[in-house]
Structure formats: structure tokens, C-alpha cells
């Protein structure tokens, strides 16, 4: 099982690098990438400044492994990668990166969508929305 959790934000350089690494695989014709970026949501008059992510890493890794196996069963993929941030991620920074590669484009969109939803539903990751005044609330996925 590859490492999913990254301390801090996922940089655009890291994403560019991941793309570059797939250019030696000449059976790939289509990539699809999902990026989750921390939004400056306004909640009851206060703006979100950051989200602090934590997780139950052992259980999360088990769940991510299951999702990975199921994704390869469900979709005709050559490669897939999931990365998620831990720690404090400021607004505008990327905290979630799903990268799917296949021979043809047909299935890549729904594969990405499925993986994103499964990670959100099944992986014990917790997020604390920190407001500009340093108050906070616990985020719940909708």
C-alpha cells in the first residue's frame, strides 16, 4: 500500500511531478485528476481560514486499500493514486488529490468520482474548520 497521507498541503509541484512520472507509461491515453481545495466558506458571518485534518491512520489505510482494490475491479484502470493532507491546510491550498490513469478516456471521469466519494464516505478523516478569529467548528461531509 502506497502512502496516502501527507503532512501539510499538497503542492502544485508535487502534482506536476506525479504527472511527469506517468509519462514513461505509454499505454496510458487518458488521465483524470480531482483536487480538493480548501474554500474560504462563510459560516454565520465568519470566514474559514484553514482546515486542520487528522485521521485514524491505521483504519484509514485499511479502508483506502479496500477502495483501491475495488476501484481496480470496477474500472479498467492502469494506475490510481490517492493523497490526502493532514495538519493545517489554509484556504486556497490543496488537501485532496485523486489521480486515475487508463488506456482510454471513457471511464476515467466516473472512476475519479467514485474514488472521491468512497474516500469521503469510508475513510476516518476529521476536519476542524478554523475561522479567521481562531474559533473553530468540526466539519461534517455533506
Amino acid at each position: 500500500m502506497k502512502k496516502v497521507f501527507i503532512e501539510g498541503p499538497i503542492s502544485s509541484a508535487f502534482i506536476g511531478d506525479s504527472i511527469a512520472k506517468h509519462q514513461s507509461k505509454t499505454s496510458i491515453g487518458a488521465h483524470n485528476i480531482f483536487l480538493g481545495q480548501v474554500r474560504a466558506d462563510e459560516i454565520e458571518g465568519k470566514s474559514v481560514a484553514a482546515i486542520e485534518y487528522s485521521c485514524y491512520e491505521e483504519l484509514a489505510n485499511e479502508k483506502l486499500h479496500e477502495i483501491r482494490e475495488e476501484a481496480f475491479q470496477k474500472f479498467d484502470l492502469i494506475c490510481m493514486h490517492i493523497y490526502h493532507s493532514l495538519g493545517t491546510i489554509k484556504t486556497g491550498e490543496v488537501c485532496f488529490f485523486v489521480f486515475v490513469s487508463a488506456k482510454r478516456r471513457k471511464e476515467v471521469y466516473s472512476a475519479t468520482e467514485w474514488i472521491v466519494n468512497q474516500v469521503k464516505e469510508r475513510t476516518p478523516i476529521f476536519g476542524k474548520e478554523i475561522f479567521e478569529d481562531q474559533s473553530h467548528q468540526w466539519k461534517v461531509n455533506s
Partner: protein, 79 residues
């Protein structure tokens, strides 16, 4: 018996720690939860349990064994 309790998300705030080893009289998860809810203001927080990294159904009452790791997991918020 001793069990390890792991707290996540909002429960860390309320319980004041991430993890503790606790001596409990509880023989099963239902008794453990009653014991915790009597001591701490956690009844307003929805959560599910995982015992030794295995999720427990909300209605299930699972027997506890010495050394079990019991995780209290509030709603997920990944992504």
C-alpha cells in the same frame, strides 16, 4: 480490564486527549458507552465505534477483551 480508548475529531476536544489506557468494569461496548456518557458530555456528538480497527454497527453490542483498542469516530470529513 484495561482497554485503549482512541478519540478523534470533536471527541478530542471533549475528552481532552487523543488516546488513553483505561481500567474499565464494562464487559461490552454498551456498558462502556454508558460509563463514558455518564462521565463526559458526549451524548450530543454522533459517533461510531471501531474495535481493533473493525467498525461496529450502531445497534451491535460487542464483548470487550483485555487490551482491546476502542476508537470513537465522529462523522468523517475527508476530502
Amino acid at each position: 480490564m484495561e482497554v485503549t480508548l482512541k478519540y478523534f475529531g470533536q471527541l478530542v476536544d471533549v475528552m481532552g486527549s487523543h488516546e488513553e489506557v483505561r481500567s474499565v468494569k464494562a464487559q461490552n461496548t454498551q456498558e462502556l458507552l454508558e460509563h463514558l456518557q455518564a462521565q463526559y458530555a458526549i451524548s450530543h456528538i454522533p459517533f461510531q465505534l471501531a474495535i481493533n480497527q473493525k467498525l461496529v454497527d450502531a445497534e451491535e453490542n460487542v464483548n470487550l477483551n483485555e487490551g482491546d483498542v476502542v476508537a470513537l469516530l465522529p462523522p468523517y470529513a475527508g476530502g
